[in-house]
Amino acid sequence: MLANDHVDLAVGRGEIHALMGENGAGKSTLMSVLYGLHRPDEGTISLHGKEVSFGSPAQAIDAGVGMVQQGFALFGELTVTENVVFGSEPTRRGLLDRKAATARVTELIERHELRLRPGDRVRDLPVGLRQRVEILKLLYREAAVLILDEPTAVLTPPETERLFGVLRALAAEDRTILLVSHKLQEVLAVSDHVTVLRDGRVSARGRTADQTAAGLAAAMTGREVDLDRVHPAGTPGDIFLEARSLTVPGVEGKPLLDNVSLTVRGGEIVGVAGVAGNGQAELSGAITGLLKTGGEVVLKGQNLDGLSVRARRDAGLAHVPEDRAEVGSAPTASLRENLAVGFHRKRPLVRKGFLRRKEVDDHASAIIETYDVRASGPAAAMGTLSGGNQQKAIFGRELSHDAPFLLVEQPTRGVDVGAIENIHARLVAHRDAGHAVLLISAELSEILALSDRVLVLFEGRIVAEFTKDEADQHAVGLAMAGGAG
């Protein structure tokens, strides 16, 4: 398979250049080539007019090229300073010069107003701050070319705004910035130029000022995409899920989840908005049983207290987790096996205690077909699918349970506009079939587009609740930042 097929890309000095494209279009691959992580089979890279060839990131770094990879390249066990200087540490008499390192990092933090503490362990930082550590790493290396692969995928609107502020300032210092993003509005807002890839080729390029959202979306997918679609409200019925006083103690007295109660009705999508790290993981753990918590959860009249994950699933819970690669699937196993999980103790896959091969196969094929999972077949290893297709497969598996209650976390993180449309439509259809859906998302636009009711989670508490009509970008965004309730 060709990830990149004769892609030409020219980026000027002091410019923010956006790169867009569907999942698996080859954006990350292209960036990796620029950063020396992969070698191109053909073609050349020129920097400041001179042809260069990076055999390794070390050479790219030396040439002033830095990259923030999709998903972070940080060490949780190390401090901010250690993460920043990693690989080009200041030394004194052969040993690490901690003082000099801290001084330099502090200075950079102050100059770029990044508001980080050099001594903090990265493990303890929220996602937004981690992103800044990544930027700090590039600044420390005095990168003239900054490559950022989907840096905003995990950020909230205010965080994104701050990041863009930093990026604009850097561009003003004559640095070159290459930005990969799936988010049309962001690209339109921040970039000077844009290039769109489709199937490993360039399908559109030009000054951002000349582009429209619809035009870019069409260039990415090859078809018209309805971008501003807000799905009509559902018709909520009985309460399917009720959570009462869920509490998860924290490390230093401050609970990670603090007395959270909520209900979800059949035929209703309840959106939980909030900046990542405000208790979303704990809320999901409390409901699914992956985490031991205080409080209780009642599902269709059945108290789930003390029940195992499996028993909760049997009681009518389906779950699309946040981390599709490690939690939601087994990347080395085949699609067939991945899709059988959860069905492997039930009819028709099992009869008289034995798994039946044909039924397992049919089950996989049915999901692949229904949910339009693009793969070479049920035998393909899950890990070889593109992110969007993995997500569709996981959705297919969980929706097929036809469970009364569905918990969905970050359903479209890192997924392209085409796949987002598909996934959103599925969720609404699922709701309209009478199921209850709890949607946890850091993507405000997603919350607003899908939710019949919006709850805002801030520092472990529900600080605000909006009906579909009340919920708008401004009000919810304010509550997410702790400005309401």
Partner: protein, 334 residues
């Protein structure tokens, strides 16, 4: 096609390396290899190979069971020995007709091994000691305990050795041509393992856990419970192998007799090499058994040091492990 290359290349490489070693010591490699093959599979040697293959394949299967879920049981020796000594105690002291004794002894061995391995699982589940370490550490006290029992309460009064009395005539597993009938039990265990692995929800959950532990937890597979069950199954199989060993010739427990031949370690290697797949594990185990018994035959016939086969075996494993990595990587990219 790749499957064949996967095995053939390392085997050829190991054989060539062995040939070089043989030439260096001034021996005709063909004669030495011939002696190994005829010693392992010839009319005289096949019995020896099978006799060796029973404990090795048994232990390999025992260790493969948890390995399928990515759990390494390093305590096979302790479980094996406890199974053996428990079976012996039952065989010696429980009254009743012979066949009943045999069945009870086999059960006792299985239970003892299962319980002891389950203890290691509890150490991981409740006390946070990783399985790898808890199984390893628990193994030594078990061997010491068996050593103590066979020297004091269970010792052979007439003998000066650390060994138990022989089991009474009726309470023994008969032999066919020098091979214990326990071989049928081992084959049955392997068959059951193969069926569970390939065709049942329990086997499927085991494999899912092996592929991606967090995925398994998310999907509702209870890891602590699975650990306990798999370890019990593993230790039980190891204990059964121990029981089969004492119920066979010389019909007694001799301190160290189950440890020095390295059944456990060779079994573990077989399981690791085959990725714990039931049939692959069996094949690898039989192959190693053949190499070992062939090695002794070679030494008797040609005076080439039998350690050569140990070297060959290890070199082969190293080549296999290394190349499987290469193939794994290639497959991942394709």
């Amino acid at each position: 096609m790749t499957r064949v290359r996967l095995i053939a290349v390392p085997v050829a490489a190991a054989l060539v390396l062995g040939a070089i070693l043989l030439l260096a010591t001034g021996t005709d490699p063909l004669a030495a290899y011939g002696a190994i093959v005829s010693g392992a599979f010839g009319p005289d040697g096949l019995g020896d190979t099978l006799a060796y293959a029973v404990p090795v394949a048994g232990m390999a299967t025992a260790l493969a069971i948890p390995l399928r879920a990515g759990m390494v049981n390093l305590g096979g020796e302790g479980q094996l020995v406890l199974g053996a000594i428990s079976a012996l105690a039952v065989g010696l002291y429980v009254p009743g007709p012979g066949p009943v004794k045999v069945v009870l002894a086999l059960l006792a061995g299985t239970l003892a091994g299962a319980a002891y391995a389950a203890l290691a699982a509890v150490c991981e589940n409740r006390l946070g000691v990783p399985l790898l370490i808890s199984t390893l550490l628990l193994s030594y006290p078990a061997m010491s305990l068996a050593g103590y029992l066979v020297r004091f309460p269970l010792k052979d009064a007439g003998s000066s050795l650390p060994q138990s009395p022989q089991l009474p005539e009726g309470a023994r597993l008969p032999e066919i041509d020098g091979v214990t009938t326990g071989i049928f039990l081992v084959v049955a265990v392997i068959a059951v393992y193969a069926v569970i692995d390939a065709r049942t929800p329990a086997g499927f959950e085991t494999k899912v856990t092996g592929w991606a532990p967090r995925f398994a937890t998310y999907a509702g597979i209870d890891r602590p419970k699975l650990t306990l069950r798999l370890l019990a199954a593993s230790g039980g199989t190891a204990g059964l192998v121990g029981a089969i060993a004492v119920l066979g010739f010389p019909y007694r427990f001799i301190d160290g007799a189950l440890i020095t031949p390295q059944y456990t370690w060779i079994g573990l290697l077989a399981a690791l090499l085959a990725g714990a797949s039931p049939l692959g594990t069996l094949l690898a185990a039989v192959f190693f058994a053949a190499l070992t018994s062939g090695g002794f035959a070679m030494e008797r016939a040609t005076q080439v040091p039998r350690e050569l086969t140990a070297v060959l075996q290890a070199v082969l494993i190293i080549f296999l492990a290394a190349t499987s990595g290469v193939f794994k990587r290639k497959a991942g990219r394709a």
